[in-house]
């Protein structure tokens, strides 16, 4: 598998009042195409910051992030926006669906931004089947359960066929049953569609779904290991 994403000596500092926080320290990692990677660590260890930097939502203070031959650290704001639109899909803990639109329209917004027309989309339909939300498209987020909302958010995140799906604690707001469903769906997306996934979690129980686990502590990577087949 070819390398898809690379972080080289990545550092991120930000100011909180007068204090300077070093959120990421000398991060080096490589993600290969089709890989499902879990990033684990305690709260505040820099997992989400890493996700934001890898996804072009914020810039690193030091080092660089390469997606293919594109260096995110040297990109303008416009280029980062284009990168997010065309190559990255985000799934968040709080689902972050647009509350005024239906599930179907939330997915349609992503397709619209990506420049995909409104015509039939076989892959999209297959994903809706896989996520078991085909009959939920006319519902607004407030009419859906947490698990259903998260599945719509996943469908939205992959609607533009991103190179990488970045999931930030996607089961953090779900009960164990829905967590299981969502994780199985990530696994299926990865296996059936070859979707590259980076999953941020503090829940060690989710690690077995991934191919590889990266452990972070205090802004640094402390270990990277392949996950044994369960």
């Amino acid at each position: 598998m070819a390398n898809l994403l690379e972080a080289i000596h990545l550092g991120k500092k930000y100011k909180l009042g007068k204090m300077e926080i070093e959120a990421l320290r000398d991060i080096n990692l490589t993600i290969r195409e089709g890989e499902f990677v879990a990033v684990v660590g305690p709260s505040g260890c820099g997992k989400s910051t890493l996700l934001h930097v890898l996804g072009g939502m914020s810039r690193p203070t030091l080092g660089k992030v390469l997606i293919g031959d594109q260096n995110l650290s040297e990109m303008t704001d416009r280029q980062l926006t284009e990168l997010r639109r065309n190559r990255i899909g985000f799934v968040f803990q709080r689902f972050n669906l647009l509350p005024t639109l239906t599930g179907g329209d939330n997915i349609e917004v992503a397709r619209h931004l990506h420049g995909v027309g409104n015509g039939p989309d076989r892959r999209g339909n297959e994903i809706l089947e896989l996520l078991m939300i085909r009959n939920k498209m006319a519902h607004k987020p407030s009419e859906l359960s947490g698990g259903e909302q998260q599945r719509v958010a996943i469908a939205r995140a992959v609607a533009g066929r991103p190179s990488i799906l970045l999931a930030d604690e996607p089961t953090g707001n779900l009960d164990s049953k829905n967590s299981l469903i969502v994780m199985n769906m990530f696994r299926e997306l990865n296996r059936q569609f070859g979707q590259t996934i980076i999953l941020i979690t503090h829940n060690a129980e989710l690690v077995p779904y991934a191919d590889r686990v990266i452990e972070m502590r205090d802004g640094s990577i402390v270990s990277q290991n392949a996950v044994a087949e369960g």
Partner: protein, 365 residues
């Protein structure tokens, strides 16, 4: 898709959307009604003054074209001198008075020479003056005040007797004897203006030149241009008033749209963060805000125009002497002004929304 987001955003906050639409409607209504009323009154006054049938209006130096603002400073003896000028057929002295007890009405103090200019009134009921405190009213005034021949309305703090009702369109709506007007104002032998009729209207320029030679500092004015000028750009005071009303209306529009859009983007910070995380560009966010504003403005403009037309209709029905003249030109102007105020009002909020950091926006509670 954008239109769906815009529609959903507007319908999700129906109260604020409705208030914003009504505020824009108010802006448009304010402009159209005030301008319509001002233009209606001046146009109607202009047409009535033209309807006198004179060829020239002769006034004191620096007199106003708005006859209600004219003073009684012309010696009545000027009438005889004017009659001596070659080409002049008839001269009628007019003393103007303003009755403000029930609205604002210009009253003409006239004598028998007025008929020489107008060709005489068209009488609907009654006849001419027989006593000093007689008044002739036009049909619109009579209808609006429900006045009949023989009634005794109070005009200028005096009780007058209505002796005749005439067809409207000859200068004023109320006419009293010139001598009575002199007595009431204490300005005997003084008048506000003279209407002059020519033997041959084609000799207008020649006769006006003769008048100007005879009375160098006085003002002569061709009546054929009067209504046009009343509506035109020369009515400086009214223009200033209209501009002030328009400016205040636009300010109201800008502030309301600004407040509405500012609170919208504050409430929807998270949504903006979501769109930005999905790759929505800054231009995309700005265009969403502008489209929302445009929808609010267009609905407000539509309601505002309808409301203005309804008000104009109601005003004329309730007060027949008032005309609200809403022109296509001013409808277009008020619509453009409302759109402009919407654009200005949403400019800063939209730029602020677009400039939001996606990470911060997503973390917004």
């Amino acid at each position: 898709m954008k239109s769906k987001i815009v529609r959903a955003g507007l319908s999700a906050r129906p109260v604020r959307t409705s208030v914003s639409i009504l505020a824009v409607a108010l802006e448009v209504t304010l402009i159209l009604t005030i301008v319509g009323l001002t233009n209606g009154i001046t146009t109607e006054m202009g047409k009535r003054t033209e309807g006198v049938g004179a060829d020239i209006m002769f006034q004191s130096p620096n007199s106003s074209l708005l006859l209600a603002l004219s003073n009684s400073t012309l010696p009545i003896a000027f009438g005889d001198k004017l009659r001596e000028i070659e080409g002049v057929k008839a001269v009628a002295p007019i003393q103007l008075q303003v009755n403000s007890s029930a609205g604002l009405e210009v009253i003409y103090g006239i004598d028998s020479t007025f008929d020489e200019i107008t060709g005489g009134f068209t009488w609907y009921k009654g006849g001419s003056f027989t006593a000093p405190y007689d008044v002739i009213v036009d049909d619109i005034y009579a209808r609006s005040k429900n006045i009949h021949v023989g009634d005794e309305p109070e005009i200028l703090n005096h009780k007058f007797r209505v002796v005749g009702i005439v067809e409207h369109g000859k200068g004023a709506r109320l006419y009293i004897p010139l001598a009575t007007a002199h007595e009431m104002t204490g300005a005997a032998n003084r008048v506000s203006l003279f209407y002059v009729k020519l033997n041959n209207p084609n000799q207008l320029d020649d006769v006006m030149k003769r008048m100007n030679d005879a009375f160098p500092t006085y003002r002569t004015f061709p009546m054929k241009d009067y209504a046009k000028l009343m509506m035109g750009s020369n009515k400086t005071a009214l223009d200033a008033f209209i501009q002030t009303v328009v400016f205040i209306s636009v300010c109201v529009g800008v502030l309301v749209i600004f407040l509405s859009m500012y609170t919208t983007i504050t409430e929807r910070t998270r949504e903006i963060g979501i769109l930005r995380s999905m790759g929505g560009s800054k231009q995309f966010i700005v265009s969403l805000i502008f489209q929302e504003t445009a929808v609010v403005c267009l609905l407000g403009i539509f309601i505002g125009i309808l409301a203005s037309l309804a008000i104009a209709h109601a005003v004329t029905a309730i007060f027949p002497t008032l005309l609200v003249l809403i022109t296509l030109g001013w409808i277009a102007k008020s619509a453009l002004l409302a759109l402009f105020s919407g654009f200005i009002g949403s400019l800063y909020p939209s730029l602020k929304a677009a400039a939001q950091d996606p990470v911060d926006a997503l973390a917004y509670e």
